[in-house]
């Protein structure tokens, strides 16, 4: 083979092998690093394994927000219209957090059925409904749709 061609061939093989390995590794680690979104219904049905980090969300139930007397702890319930789940968060809630607002929290389910959030996500825009929450509300059918309508601006 022409030395120049040979060099090019080696280069191409090297590239293909490198890219292949890289993509494989990336896809593998990606599948290990995703955070599934769970609706309140799924959580109430016990579909969330205890100790696995997932994202959970829904509308914050009016009158459900309770703050502890000491420190920063707060608990509140979120709903998709069909089921409710309690979320506990020890930290500063985002500015746009309020009752009736759609929120998404990152955290883990505890053994006693309370979702322990490590992060409650804030959005730029008060009219913004996280797509997951919207989806969850629509999935929970009629009641959820009513909740969605009344939550609309």
């Amino acid at each position: 083979m022409h030395p120049k061609r040979k060099k090019r061939l080696i280069l191409i093989l090297f590239l293909v092998a490198g890219v292949g390995t890289a993509v494989g590794l990336m896809m593998y680690s990606l599948s290990q690093n995703i955070n599934l979104f769970m609706t309140p219904t799924q959580m109430a049905n016990g579909e969330v394994p205890v100790g696995r980090t997932v994202r959970a969300g829904g509308l914050v139930v009016a009158g459900s927000v309770e703050r502890s007397d000491q420190g920063l702890g707060a608990t509140f319930r979120v709903t998709d219209g069909a089921a409710e789940v309690t979320i506990s968060y020890d930290g500063i809630l985002p500015d746009l957090f309020r009752e009736g607002q759609g929120i998404v929290a990152l955290g883990q389910m505890s053994a006693d059925g309370v979702f322990i959030a490590s992060e409650v996500l804030a959005k730029h825009d008060e009219n913004y409904m996280p797509p997951e929450v919207k989806d969850a509300l629509e999935k929970a059918h009629t009641e959820g749709k009513q909740a969605l309508e009344s939550a609309r601006y």
């Binding site: 990336m26 680690s29 990606l30 690093n33 703050r67 920063l72 500063i92």
Partner: protein, 654 residues
């Protein structure tokens, strides 16, 4: 409304329509000229590009005027402004939401076209005609998109609201005045590199001259992109109220991907200019860079991804942009497939050579961009196939990006001091052994001195950053043969490169330090309370009340002391904006080169207490300081006189 000035918004729309018509002509006429070798037709490219820019500027100016005079009959103004909004924010509100930012996008595109038509005297006429015609195509697509789906001049007649809904308070900030235009300049500027690449492909003249023309334009776009990303990070840091400066958010990723590919393109163009190699690869990078910036626009504007940047949005717009993206990527790749096989790169190089280093650099940058693309689009794909709503955690992006950056930082220095065609590892090793020893020793010392114990992440970060700096300085030392007075004669290109590479190292140091040594505490505090964080004491002195032009706020006065000495008085605020009732956190930051002290107010608790977020972030400024170095480096490289040499030659001949 009978008076002419009641019609002002319609003039804006009319100007936009004229811009569309002109850009259609800009596509067709110069290309016809090229096809039939008619110089007089090709010569229309420059005036048409200028006319397009003028019409777009008029349109943008009219929208700005509508904002300044509070013309709430324009729906977009009513939705995003308010009489109480301070005038500078009225101006920046122009690009505060979708319609206006799109108008800004196309206007900047027009301005790049204008710039090309002004600063292309040294270019052959057919090249100018092709370049401007391609830029015209992009304009047609996006002006059409603006007029069709997102007309900023739409009226809400006859029921004109008496007051506007106000600009989103998050956006009422200096950062928003400058961040979007800068970032857009970068995004849109990549269209010039794209147009040059396609024009060269069409004309079959992928040569050193093409690379030389394309380089300053690519560098210019890259500078804007660099500054724009840094501004965005800085803005998020002080405005979102929790001190994060990079979130691996889809929208941030959308700006980082084109930046990485544009960085690869800069280096690949250097090889093409100097050695006539990597030609088709360079073209491909130019196509990718611009496609990724279109993808960024799509991601931001369609709202398909959950993001801190996601605004309530319209899916139809997403489909339109996706179609534009498809046409642009599909069309340019088709042209590439047809024309690239005819391009032959001449010249050879050995395994150890600057070409190889550049290849490795390109490989690492493109793989990094690809990894980010994968992580950003993966949730979309999963969702599309109905497999659930997922998100990819920041830890995944860090696992991908950090090792690639470390490898890249390791090869930058040796790459820059290696020789074209062929070099010897022995020579490179000999020149860098001192640098290696110095950087390893210092990297051991930094975590021990700063943190008290060994932190291998900090060690790695500092080691590669110092290695980069010491090797680069060794190179400077050798090139000026030990006499610093010779530095000015090394050429602006070289100096720019040195500055930009040192900028990379500065950012790495900042990231390594702030990611590992930041201290944070969320505490319940009432006036009189003192909290300690690291070496700093935070005393909540008193609570107060501030009245702003369009907001009221609760404020807290803090005295920050270190070793009993007062460092500063800080006043974080919790604002409530009157028009929307939206609550905003205004963090108070004491800035210095080696650490930031950051206080933001959380929520009010009972008995006058507040949730307070206290942070000490070492070397925070370095993250952005590095970006400043990189962009200054880019500016120096652009100013190199060889990009203007042909012009002076021509003038001498004339």
């Amino acid at each position: 409304m009978t008076e002419w000035y009641g019609m002002v918004p319609e003039f804006g729309q009319l100007a936009l329509i004229f811009a569309l018509l002109v850009s259609v002509l800009q596509v067709v006429i110069p290309l016809l000229g090229v096809r039939n070798s008619q110089d007089w037709l090709m010569a229309y490219a420059r005036p048409l590009a200028s006319a397009q820019a003028v019409f777009l500027l008029i349109s943008l100016a009219i929208l700005t005027y509508c904002f300044v005079v509070d013309d709430f009959s324009v729906a977009y103004v009513a939705k995003n402004s308010n009489t109480a909004l301070p005038t500078p924010f009225k101006v920046s509100a122009v690009w505060g939401a979708h319609e206006g930012s799109l108008l800004l996008w196309v206007t900047l595109l027009g301005c790049w076209g204008l710039a090309v038509s002004l600063f292309s005297r040294s270019l052959p006429l057919d090249m100018v005609a092709r370049v401007l015609s391609i830029m015209g195509m992009v304009s047609v697509g996006f002006i059409l998109f603006t007029l069709e789906t997102s007309n900023p001049f739409e009226r809400s007649l006859p029921s004109v609201p008496s007051e506007g809904a106000d600009l989103n308070p998050l956006l009422q900030d200096f950062g928003l005045i400058v961040h979007p235009p800068t970032l857009y300049m970068g995004y849109v500027g990549l269209s010039v590199a794209f147009a040059f690449a396609l024009a060269a492909l069409m004309g079959g003249r992928l040569d050193a001259a093409w690379a030389r023309w394309s380089r300053p334009w690519t560098t210019a776009a890259w500078i804007f992109l660099t500054v724009g990303i840094a501004l965005g990070s800085w803005w998020a840091y002080y405005e979102l109220g929790w001190g994060g400066w990079w979130f691996w958010d889809p929208v941030e990723n959308a700006s980082l991907m084109p930046w990485l590919v544009a960085t690869a393109l800069l280096h690949s163009l250097a090889v093409t200019e100097k050695r006539g190699l990597f030609k088709s690869w360079t073209v491909l990078l130019a196509i990718f860079a611009f496609s990724l910036s279109l993808l960024g626009t799509f991601l931001v504007r369609s709202g398909v991804l959950t993001s801190v940047h996601a605004f309530a949005s319209d899916p139809e717009r997403g489909i339109f942009i996706l179609a534009l993206l498809g046409i642009c990527v599909g069309g340019s790749l088709l042209l590439y497939a047809l024309k690239a096989p005819t391009v032959a790169s001449v010249g050879r190089y050995e395994w150890v050579s600057r070409e190889s280093f550049m290849l490795l650099n390109n490989l690492l940058l493109v793989v990094a961009a690809f990894a980010i693309l994968l992580g950003t689009l993966y949730p979309l794909v999963i969702d599309f196939f109905g497999m659930g709503k997922i998100s990819v955690g920041a830890s995944w992006f860090n696992t991908m990006f950090v090792p690639l950056s470390v490898l890249l930082a390791l090869i930058i220095g040796p790459g820059a001091l290696s020789r074209w065609k062929a070099d010897e590892l022995k020579r490179i090793g000999g020149q860098t052994v001192a640098a290696a020893i110095i950087s390893l020793l210092l990297a051991f010392a930094v975590p021990l001195l700063h943190g008290g114990d060994m932190n291998w992440q900090v060690f790695l970060g500092i080691a590669v950053a110092l290695w980069l700096i010491t090797v680069t300085l060794t190179d400077v030392w050798k090139k000026c043969r030990g006499q610093l007075s010779r530095i000015p004669s090394l050429g602006l290109s070289f100096q720019g490169m040195v500055l930009a590479h040192i900028g990379v190292a500065i950012t790495i140091i900042g990231v390594a330090m702030v990611a590992n040594y930041s201290e944070e505490k969320a505490a319940r505090m009432a006036p009189g309370d003192i909290e300690t964080l690291g070496a700093y004491q935070f005393e909540f002195v008193q609570a107060g009340h501030i009245e702003g032009p369009n907001f009221v706020s609760d404020a807290a006065r803090f005295r920050v002391t270190k070793d009993g000495k007062e460092i500063s008085l800080l006043t974080p605020e919790k604002r409530r904006y009157n028009a929307r009732g939206q609550i905003m956190t205004e963090a108070a930051i004491d800035v210095s080169l080696f650490r930031d002290v950051y206080i933001s107010m959380g929520e009010p608790l009972d008995n006058g207490a507040w949730g307070m977020r206290l942070q000490v972030k070492p070397f925070m400024r370095w993250v952005w300081l590095g970006a400043i170095f990189m962009s200054l480096g880019g500016a120096l490289a652009m100013a190199d006189k060889r990009y203007r040499r042909r012009k002076t030659l021509q003038e001498a001949n004339a």
